[in-house]
């Protein structure tokens, strides 16, 4: 970048947008997961990053002994689901049944984050474990400069978004999920078991988070215990910008935050990339907590 004939500011900008798409892709998968989960539980899961990290590590370990990326992906997703279901069954579920305040449940997810992150630290150690997957050369696609792997990631994320959309709109599971998200009591009055829907939602969102974590590890070149935690607030930024609890808003929010982060890295030191996301998060929470696309206040307490 920057060699050869004059590079116009616009094309630099677009290159940044291209990189942003990769971040946005990973972010979108993770944010949609967070939003779907929040929609049915009303608790922002502070351990969401750890589900991602777990997926990353499980994927890493799978790669180590099997050298198969598809298998690593499957197991990463499976481990995310297992952790998600475990969180719901053993911790959040019981406290929810006793009508514990959402704030206290939030504190519990912080404790879970502490446990999982440090468990991974204990098992794998604190160093970054490198993941190297052979990567193709960057190729120009329109104004963007992306490797074939990055193209796959963006394509896969888009496919997942479409799949989620189809799931929510056209399957009974998706409709039940939206019903429970709006009113658990009315859903029950219609014959839906809210707790079954919640469990299934955790399975889905855990899998998505595990996948996002593994892909994040791939694009970062390595996995380490705070991988997901560092990403967590970026995910919150995207979720809140899009209106937390709204899966479609989450997709849009991810796009905005991902692109904003990468584009900003062109103009200010890339050390501050995540700070840009956090700044967006703070501004969103303070001034537009319902997200850019909602006209009424989203409930969060």
């Amino acid at each position: 970048m920057g060699t050869g004939p004059q590079v116009s500011p616009m094309s630099t900008f677009l290159l940044g947008v291209g990189f942003g798409l990769v971040t946005a892709a990973i972010l979108a998968i993770s944010t949609v997961a967070l939003s779907l989960q929040f929609a049915v539980t009303n608790v922002p899961n502070f351990a969401h990053g750890e589900i991602m990290t777990l997926g990353a590590f499980v994927g890493y370990s799978t790669l180590q002994w099997s050298h198969s990326v598809p298998l690593a992906i499957v197991l990463a997703m499976a481990s995310g689901s297992v952790l998600g279901v475990a969180i719901n069954k053993f911790i959040l579920g019981p406290f929810r049944k006793r009508n514990t305040a959402l704030l206290t449940q939030f504190v519990l997810t912080i404790a879970i984050s502490l446990i999982v992150q440090n468990a991974l630290l204990w098992i794998y150690g604190g160093n970054t474990l490198p993941i190297s997957v052979s990567s193709g050369l960057p190729v120009h696609i329109g104004p963007f400069l992306l490797t074939p792997e990055e193209d796959i990631i963006i394509g896969a994320a888009a496919a997942i978004m479409i799949a989620v959309h189809v799931l929510l709109r056209y399957t009974m599971f998706g409709k039940s999920q939206r019903a429970v998200a709006e009113s658990p009591s009315l859903a029950q009055a219609s014959g839906i078991s809210a707790s079954k829907v919640i469990t299934r939602t955790w399975i889905l969102t855990g899998a998505l988070a595990g996948l996002a974590g593994f892909v994040l590890g791939l694009t970062s070149g390595g996995v380490f215990p705070t991988l997901g935690f560092g990403f967590l607030l970026v995910v919150f930024a995207a979720a809140i910008l899009g209106g937390i609890g709204r899966p479609y808003g989450a997709m849009a929010g991810a796009l905005v935050v991902g692109v904003a982060m990468e584009v900003s890295a062109l103009y200010i030191s890339s050390d501050y990339k995540t700070s840009v996301a956090f700044a967006i998060l703070i501004l969103a929470l303070l001034f537009r907590p319902q997200g850019l696309f909602t006209s009424r206040m989203a409930e969060m307490a």
């Binding site: 305040a101 404790a111 984050s113 204990w122």
Partner: protein
């Protein structure tokens, strides 16, 4: 051995101060601040900068100002710095966000601060951090290494004791009580005229100052401070300490700090298998803390040393049911003698209120005579609750006028009308559950000047006098309402009926001009209903005008001088119950119009 113990406890004392600071924010004020460690860091850094001498061979580092200020001055400056930062952050964050949102803002802000400080080298030398900070009084005293360690430990303990005593004073003061009231139920606090935002902000800043002081003690001990010492996870560990030790209890905060932040690492080191693995050790410690948090919240949420001795084991109400509505700030309150004047004390003229397409109140007009007991009745959906909310200021009418003692009050917020002498109760009792009955009644008193933080620390004698007077007044009121037996019980543990009587006690303390009672007899047995009727009459003879929304017609008939009936958002009748029973429109409002077939 002694050496080792002293060094461990030195760390413990500094940590205890930090957890005490967190206790002000989370324990006293109920704010889930996940970025608290930023305050500690700021305190440490500023103290370092203040005490460093001129360049001592570290090369050109911008933060070396060569001030070499003495210990006490440096601590005060550092505390002020973290206080100032708290003021800035708090004045923005506390106005706009609550609960989990607030927590997320604090983490994000802290991480931004962390990124900035660690990456912007000119400030505090980035990741290297500050080091070589002189130990307090080291140059002055001529002690051996061990002797100095002991000295510093004692110095810290002195600071700890001073901070502890001051915080206890604050906790027991009218200010502390008011902060707790806001924590428990901010709508009720606003209804009694408290400044919700102001109280929260003061508690927030105080917590920051104490945290900063804790940071100074750390810096004085370690002589160095860099970003590795204060990642986001540190705050979570502090919460572990506080939750285990006892949220809201200062001694619990100290205990929790010692057990969780000192004890667990020490224990972990003693376990042979794990103790030797430098990597695994902190990880396991943190896992244990995480498990402890979950375990404590499940089995003994109040912690080892609960905030109050008489508390039951279950989660305190403010951790159980978050209160949503925001109260607003207010001024003075009113106590007034009765004037035997003909003008009604409360007038409602052609008030309208719409919710979406539905008219809850459409052109309601009535007036309330001074010193009367007026019933406000009507079937469900008639608009009575909305009317009460409009009068008290919880909602604003779309049009129309509400006049209180000659002054227009429509559209004014809850705490404003409360200070003009209009008090209301709620359908669901809104007691402050973790305050005792006596404290609930005293806290209801409208004199807000007593509840200043300044006074709790510096005007204790005059406060003591007024506290005694108020307490006597409160006890007399409690006695009149038959609650003496439970005066020291936590209000949250009272029965429903007792809570109702407590609401009357609080109202009696305020001596408002007008009292709006929202279904005071809901769920009340006949005996209690008698007591309530007596309490109402009592208040009237003390000069308060009373408006009662009720469904219980027998009570209304017996206790009210006159009755106003609402139906479909309008006033459809005024007079005695006997008259109203003859009024066909009234009967139809209750029984419906019947079939058109």
């Amino acid at each position: 051995m002694l050496e080792y113990l002293v060094s461990v406890l030195t760390l413990g004392a500094a940590t205890a101060v930090i957890v005490l600071g967190l206790n002000v924010r989370w324990g006293l004020s109920g704010q889930l601040d996940l970025g608290f460690y930023l305050m500690v860091a700021v305190g440490a850094y500023v103290y370092g900068v203040a005490t460093l001498g001129p360049s001592n061979g570290q090369g050109q580092v911008t933060y070396i100002l060569g001030l070499r200020l003495p210990f006490l001055v440096a601590i005060l400056i550092a505390g002020a710095a973290s206080g100032l930062l708290s003021l800035v952050i708090g004045s923005i964050a506390l106005r706009r966000v609550r609960g989990e949102r607030y927590a997320i803002v604090t983490v994000a802000a802290t991480i931004i601060g962390y990124s900035f400080i660690s990456q912007y080298s000119p400030l505090f030398d980035g990741y290297n951090g500050i080091y070589g900070v002189p130990r307090p009084f080291a140059g002055v005293l001529n002690l051996s290494a061990q002797g100095y360690s002991n000295f510093y430990f004692v110095l810290e303990v002195c600071v700890l004791v001073i901070v502890f005593v001051l915080l206890e004073m604050v906790r027991r003061s009218p200010f502390g009580r008011a902060v707790k009231a806001v924590r428990e139920d901010e709508v009720a606090a606003a209804a009694f005229g408290k400044s919700v935002y102001g109280l929260r902000l003061k508690a927030y800043v105080l917590g920051g100052v104490v945290g900063g002081i804790g940071g100074c003690l750390l810096m004085g001990y370690i002589s160095a401070f860099n970003p590795a010492s204060w990642s986001a996870i540190e705050t979570f560990l502090l919460y572990g300490a506080l939750i285990v030790g006892g949220t809201g209890n200062n001694a619990g905060a100290v205990l929790g700090a010692l057990i969780v932040l000192i004890g667990i690492p020490q224990l972990a080191q003693a376990i042979p298998v794990v103790g030797n693995d430098a990597n695994a050790l902190p990880a396991i410690e943190n896992m244990v803390i995480g498990l402890l948090i979950i375990g404590v919240l499940r089995f003994r949420p109040i912690g080892i040393l609960p905030e109050r001795k008489t508390m039951s084991g279950q989660l305190p109400r403010w951790m159980l049911h978050g209160s949503k509505k925001e109260g607003v700030t207010a001024e003075r309150s009113m106590v007034s003698p009765t004037d035997a004047v003909a003008a009604p004390i409360l007038e409602v003229r052609d008030v309208r209120k719409r919710f979406g397409g539905l008219y809850a109140v459409q052109g309601a007009t009535f007036s309330v005579q001074r010193s009367s007991i007026t019933g406000l009745v009507g079937p469900n959906g008639a608009g009575k609750s909305t009317m009460i909310n409009l009068i008290s200021g919880l909602m604003s009418p779309d049009s129309g006028v509400i006049v209180l003692d000659g002054e227009e009050i429509q559209g004014r917020p809850l705490h404003w009308t409360s200070r003009r002498g209009l008090l209301r109760t709620f359908q669901v009792a809104r007691e402050w559950p973790k305050l005792t009955v006596t404290e609930n009644v005293i806290a209801a008193h409208p004199d807000r000047e007593r509840e200043s933080l300044w006074r709790s620390l510096f005007a204790r004698r005059s406060l003591r006098r007024s506290e005694n007077e108020l307490e006597a007044q409160a006890l007399a009121t409690i006695d009149r309402l038959g609650l003496s037996r439970v005066k020291d019980e936590l209000a949250g543990s009272l029965s429903g009926g007792q809570k109702r009587l407590l609401e009357f006690a609080r109202a009696a303390m305020v001596k408002p001009k007008v009292l709006l009672l929202d279904e005071p007899l809901a769920g009340v047995n006949p005996v209690l209903a008698q007591e309530i009727a007596a309490a109402v009459e009592d208040l009237r003879s003390a000069g308060t005008t009373i408006v009662i929304v009720e469904h219980n017609m027998r009570f209304v008939e017996k206790s009210c001088d006159t009755v106003v009936v609402m139906g479909q958002g309008r006033v459809i009748g005024e007079g005695s119950m006997a008259e109203l029973r003859q009024n066909e429109e009234v009967v139809e409002a209750y029984l419906g119009s019947g079939s058109m077939a």
